[in-house]
Subunit: 158 residues, 2 copies
Amino acid sequence: MMGSDLGRRIGKREPFETKQEEALLGLARTADRMQARVARLLKEHGLTPAQYNVLRILRGLGRPTPILEVAQSMLTETPGITGLIDRLEKLELVRRERCERDRRVIFVVLGPRAADVLTGLDGPMAELRTALFAGLSPSDLATLVRLLDRVREPLEGP
Amino acid sequence: MMGSDLGRRIGKREPFETKQEEALLGLARTADRMQARVARLLKEHGLTPAQYNVLRILRGLGRPTPILEVAQSMLTETPGITGLIDRLEKLELVRRERCERDRRVIFVVLGPRAADVLTGLDGPMAELRTALFAGLSPSDLATLVRLLDRVREPLEGP
DNA sequence: TGATGATAATTTACACGTCAACTAATTAAA
DNA sequence: TTTAATTAGTTGACGTGTAAATTATCATCA
């Protein structure tokens, strides 16, 4: 007890005063490291994680999707989505289409190149996810998912 | 099974194809939500999470610390630290001091106002951490920490 | 000594994410 | 119908993170 990897690595005499502190830092650090791995893989295909998320969301929905609906499915807040779509449009992976019935809304549609990029990533991404969690048994993995769900649940609203 | 909170919230028909996919997204989302809460609290005290981390690291070490040593204790990479210290210096929470023996090195030292800001945050931060993990029993919390440690361990180096 | 190589820190350029304020289009209400 | 309140999306300013290139200092070794 008190001798976690994280505590020793950072080199504090008393690694953590509370288990909550340890959990919060461990969560941030683990998510960051995984994100770094994902980013590295995506970069080889010319994408950032945020851009890949947009493409996956659009493929998942399978229909022209209002910009703000895309934003809501992501971690990002409303304003950041504009530049993100701009860059994807410049890469010709996505197109903007004005809605006729309500001219305030702008649909985002996958471009022709997008399908190739996405299918080219399906394999490597699946491999990477497997590798990232290789240290956990299936039952441990299920436990992790359950605990994350439970701890996140009261945080989702406000 | 297959009916997790996260899956339903995002509204995919088949929420996740693999448990790894669910875990990766759940991890990112949970870390993000917690970070948002922490950021909100810190903002009331005029700090960002990165700035608060620097101050805590300096307090923990309790001595003038080379800039790059600060950077290594954080999630951020070398180049980002410069502007971060710049802003903390502008807030008069931190001071730069040239090392005499090796003039390449620049020490960062806590300013006088820093102690007040940090002690003013100790209580609220502890409360927040407790609240963030209120959904988990002590033993679940310990399990979470252990699983995070184990999954992160092979990712720390490269 | 003097050239070479390593190290500390910075700069520059870009991608996000957040907040606050704004425009344009739609809806609701007086 | 004209006005007021909403809603979709954008813009601008700022803080942060990453990669690549630069500057300044130190260390080493011929």
